[in-house]
Each structure stands twice: as structure tokens, then as C-alpha cells.
Symmetry: C2
Subunit: 375 residues, 2 copies
């Protein structure tokens, strides 16, 4: 069932593409070449044709944006036991997971119930514009170790993960139905995650989604006016100010932005305005990974408990055009504003769009700066 492809998408990064018995693609990545005898598996009940994803988009006329609908109403006959972890490597062949056993460090596979899918077709007619929700949804399993976390992985492993995100950005971005590649991580029950195995996701959108579009437009206007990058200049000003800097390396930095919307919001960026993950040089990958690991360790060490967060990567669109204005960065939104106190997006945030904070970014940055970590 597997169609093995062995290659090295980046120096020191090995990859193998396989096809799961149910037809979905699987990519295994490692620092060592991937054993060609590894065979892909599918979870119980996942057979070719069991799911024919046909998500669609509807236009929201008041907001001028799309909303995605994916009704996955297939009969799910397999009821997994509580301890079943679909992201762990398969140990019992009679009870396969999403991933095979074997030596690899990171795995990526197509989501079984995607919100965006290359095969989407024929949306229902409606009183608003509709279109097929083309694109892709992939799951990125960070490690085989269910008890690890992105912060706890060794630095080389985080570097590999950055290379994986870069590889997926390159490959998905080359697809005709993809306009924007968006890697992200939802972490913790507080942000709705029930699966604790360290993993993230990648959404490849058929259009540039609104928040990315807004940031790109702001960067474009600034670049056109000043001939320099908005985030480049902002990072320079942050480093001169210095109070909110959490990590300062030769190629990357991490900070609580002066305009943080979440109490412990953190941005991580290469110093140079690399448009996408795929544009990072090996030196930049290394320093970006160190910046990322440093701040995630600080967030987990702050209250000595795993900090739930959303981590979003913002980069240039995948339109094949040069984007000198676009500056890749990660935005991390920790869920808590105080120990035990979640930040809720309530009336002003969700209904009007003004974020309100009763703490100052300088205070929260000082707390995180004081946390000693050894990345």
C-alpha cells in the first residue's frame, strides 16, 4: 500500500512519503534516514472511501469573509478505549493508530476529517456565495513520546520540526488550490485540545485568511511607504527598548510585544525579514528554534505547569510572487492571564474587536524574563 519516496528536503533532514491503507498521505521525518521497511497504517475503521470529505465555504456578507462547514456524519463504528492514543506509534498490530512503529522523529499525515480538502466539490447553492473548501488539513506529530512537549524536546528536534514546517510550507504552497500555508499548535484542554500527545496542525487555505491578510496589508503599506519591513523596524525598536525581550540571538528574537493582546503573548521571529519558513537559512532555523524553545520553556516554568496556548505562524502567501514586505513570525497566545484565570474573549473582543488587558506587557515580560531556563 505504501509508495515509499526517500529524500532529503534539507541538509540533515530525511523524509519518506507513504500512503496509508485508507488512502491518506503520511510523511515521516528524521535526522537519520527513514527505514524503507516501515509501512503506513490506518486506525480501525478507516478504509478507502469511508470518508469522502466535501467541506464547503459560505460567504459572510457582513464581515466580508468566508466560513467553513464540514459535516462529517459518517458512522464511526470504532469506539476507541480511553487510553487509545491515535498519535502514538502502533504497538499492537491488531489495534493500529495513525502512525507506524519504527525510527523517525516527526510525522505528518492528512487529517481524517478535514475542514479543507483538495477533493472538495459542488457546494450547496445558497443565498450567499459558496465554494468548495479546497486546500488541506494536516496533523503534525512532534515526537513519538506522548509525554513530551514542544518545549521539552531537545534543540536538534525543535530544529527538525522547523525544517518540517518549512518543507510542508514549500510542498503545500506549490499546490494550485493553496494560497496560504498556516502551521499552528493548539495546546491544552483550555484551548479545546483533548489529545495530549504533542502535535500541531497545518491548514492550507485556498485564499489568504483574514488575519494573515490584514497583517500582510499592514506590512505592505509600511514597506511601500518606507522601503523597510514593518516587523523588522518593530523588532529593532523592541530591542532598543529592551524591557520586553525574552531571547536575543544572532538570527532570531523573542519578546512580549508592546501591544500584546494576551497577557503573556509572545512573538518569535527571525531578525531578517524571511517571508516564509521555507526561506530560513540553516543558521536562521537553528536560532529560530532556540528562540522558540526558550520562550516555551519559560511559559511552562512560569507557574511550574504546562501553559496552554495557541501558537500561530504568520508568513507570506504561497502565490509564487516575491513578498519583501512579509516577515515570518510565530505569535503565541497563552490562555491564562493569571494563575487559574483564563482570558476570555468576551463582548469587547469578540463583538467589537477591541482587546482589553488589565496588566501591562512590561510587567508580564519582566515575569518571563526572570524565569531561568536552560534550553
Amino acid at each position: 500500500m505504501s509508495s515509499p519516496i526517500l529524500d532529503t528536503p534539507a541538509p540533515g533532514v530525511h523524509r519518506r512519503r507513504l500512503t496509508k491503507p485508507d488512502g491518506r498521505a503520511l510523511w515521516l521525518y528524521g535526522r537519520q534516514p527513514i527505514d524503507p521497511s516501515i509501512e503506513a497504517v490506518s486506525p480501525p475503521g478507516a478504509t478507502p472511501g469511508d470518508v469522502r470529505p466535501n467541506p464547503h465555504l459560505r460567504y459572510h456578507p457582513l464581515r466580508g469573509e468566508w466560513v467553513a462547514y464540514a459535516g462529517h456524519r459518517q458512522t464511526r463504528t470504532f469506539l476507541p478505549p480511553a487510553e487509545y492514543n491515535p498519535l502514538a506509534p502502533t504497538t499492537d498490530p491488531s489495534r493500529p493508530t495513525e502512525l507506524p512503529a519504527g525510527a523517525y522523529d516527526v510525522a505528518v499525515f492528512e487529517n481524517r476529517f478535514p475542514t479543507l480538502h483538495g477533493g472538495a466539490h459542488d457546494p450547496p447553492a445558497s443565498i450567499v456565495d459558496t465554494r468548495p473548501a479546497r486546500g488541506a488539513c494536516e496533523v503534525v506529530v512532534f515526537t513519538q513520546d506522548a509525554r513530551a512537549s514542544l518545549a521539552s524536546l531537545p534543540l536538534w528536534h525543535v530544529e527538525l520540526l522547523v525544517a518540517v514546517w518549512a518543507d510542508r510550507t514549500r510542498e503545500l504552497g506549490a499546490r494550485g488550490d493553496v494560497a496560504y500555508v498556516f502551521p499552528f499548535e493548539n495546546r491544552g484542554v483550555e484551548v479545546g485540545v483533548t489529545l495530549h500527545h504533542p502535535h500541531g496542525q497545518i491548514y492550507a487555505y485556498p485564499f489568504v485568511p483574514p488575519i494573515a491578510a490584514r497583517e500582510l496589508a499592514q506590512q505592505k503599506a509600511y514597506y511601500d511607504a518606507h522601503g523597510r519591513g514593518l516587523l523588522e523596524d518593530h523588532l529593532r525598536a523592541e530591542r532598543e527598548d529592551g524591557r520586553r525581550i525574552l531571547y536575543e540571538g544572532p538570527r532570531a528574537t523573542a519578546l512580549v510585544p508592546v501591544c500584546a493582546r494576551y497577557a503573556y503573548e509572545v512573538w518569535v521571529a527571525p531578525l531578517r525579514a524571511a517571508p516564509t519558513l521555507a526561506d530560513l537559512t540553516p543558521d536562521e532555523v537553528r536560532d529560530f528554534a532556540l528562540a522558540l524553545k526558550t520562550v516555551l520553556m519559560k511559559l511552562d516554568a512560569l507557574w511550574n505547569r504546562p501553559m496552554p496556548y495557541i501558537m500561530a505562524f504568520h508568513q507570506a502567501p504561497s502565490d509564487g510572487e516575491p513578498h519583501p514586505e512579509a516577515h515570518l513570525h510565530a505569535e503565541i497566545y497563552p490562555a491564562y492571564r493569571m494563575p487559574g484565570r483564563l482570558k476570555y474573549l468576551a463582548g469587547s473582543e469578540a463583538g467589537a474587536g477591541l482587546f482589553t488587558a488589565d496588566t501591562f506587557p512590561e510587567e508580564k515580560a519582566a515575569e518571563l524574563r526572570a524565569v531561568e531556563v536552560n534550553p
Copy 2:
């Protein structure tokens, strides 16, 4: 301490303005004239000058929007007992609440710890633009009955409340430091509300906030192109389709929009494109109130438990200009997508701006249509 003003801002609506001992304004509203002997109270510890709100705004250059910071770090000497309800009428004069005893139906007062404040001045210098967070934050107490809810109030009381929102829209909108008046309700612990007494809030912003600005721009472009209102045309199409209509009256309608971002999202609007709450005729107030009460009753009856939600009123800016494109409406975002399953705004929603749903608005509307209520 009180400076009573007795007046009738709308037919059958009586109002009295008082000043609390700590200096904040209080408005009492009722169907009957308000007893002029009622005196305003302040909670323990609230004295003139105990809080000098000085919130400020910082510009978020990547998003092109403002973020509000209000650090209220005064020593709060009064630790209220668990059963202390600051929104209940005062019963024990030695332990005053925010509200006096006496005959009134709805009360509005200035928030003691506002995110926006008319007296805000001198923001800190920063690497991004800053400005004083002028404007106002008010609390709207819907009823004296702590166990009631907006849905459970008699229709005349909901009508009065709509008149109160209209009155506050008019008065706040006339202020020089206010560009947009935004009434809203956060309801339920699931959206971060710890105070169960039925109440909402009003934020009066010194600029048009991003979500309202976006909806207004969409409506303006449509109006300029078609000479008709975007929401007017949308409501007409929804009513012709019919499947998602929850209430259809002579002057107002309520529906699950075809492009619902939340599973049970509901919009309530007058049929005519009234720009603001203050532009509603008495007939429209009555029907709008009935539409609102009907859908809130349905949401509470759906699973026979109070539905947590955010309710946001979107209306025209308070710039004194005509806004034929703007069409007042309420957007209600229920927190649950299934019994016990919250909708989380995770990576795609919070980081990219694409809302994803695994249910269809037609299904959810059918569920709500099937719920019988007697408003």
C-alpha cells in the same frame, strides 16, 4: 450627594440621574416615575478619588488596531463575602451595593474599573503610538431580580431595556470623546462571567472598533453599489429561504444566519434599516424586544439549561452623520456547539480568522425552530 434629574426619554420610559457618593453616575429607569427620594449608594471602599482611571490605548502595528490597557492596582480593602451581590439593591445600609433600594426596573451606572474613561489622559510614551483610552464603560442591570434572566423578563421589561439601550446610545453618542456605542451582554461562566445577576455592559469607544468598522465598510460598499441595504437584502433572502427563520414579526426578525460562525448563532434585527437603537420607532422597539425574547427563550429551552452567550449590538457610528447603509442588529454567539461541547476559538479562528463548523446552520436552526416557547 445625588443630583436628581427626572425626565422621560421615551414615551412610557421614566429616568432619574443620580450621582453616587464616590462620584460615579447612576441612572434609574422604570415604567413608572422614579421615586425622587431614592438616594444613590456606593459599595464599601468606593470613595471619591479611590480610583482615578487612566487607561490607555496602544497601536498594534501588525493588525492596524488599538489594544486597551487599564491597570487598576489600587488597594482593595473591602473583601466581599461570597454571597455579596453588588448588583442587587441594597438591603442592609451598612453593607451597600452598587444600587439603592426602591422602585425601578433597570439601572445603569459607570463601571468602577473602566477600560475606557472620559478622564483618561497622558498615556506613557512607547515605541508604538499611544493615546488616552477615552470613552465610557457602563454596567446595565437588567432587573432587581438576581435569579431572572433577559429571556425570563416580561415582554414590557425587555421593551424597557431596549429603550434604555437606545437612551444610552443617544446620550453617550452625543459626547465628544465617543465615536461608537456598543451595548453587549456576556452571559455565563463559560464566557467568563462570575456575577450571575442579569446584566450587560455598554462600551462607548473613542473610535469605531474593528469588527463594527468592517461590517460598516461592507454595508457602505453594498449601499453605494446597489442603493439598498446589505442587511435589508440579506434579511429578505433569509425570509424567502425560510429554513433558518426563528421569529418573523411585522417589524423585526430573528434567524440563524446562513453563514453562522457559531453553531447556534442568531441575529436579531428590525426589518427596516434603522441605523441605531435610538432610531427605532415604538412599534419597532416592541417587535425587536419580542424577537429578542423569543430567541433567548429558545436558546434556554433547547437543552433546558441557561445557554451561555455573548450578545453584541452593532449599529451606526455616533458621528452625527447620516448612515443609510448601517442596519442595527444584535449578534448572539452561544458558547456551546453541542450539549457539553464548547466552541473554542483555536488556531484557525484566533490565528488565521477562518471559522470552522462541523454542523450546518440549517440543522441548528431546525432544532431551535422546533423549540416551542411562549414569549
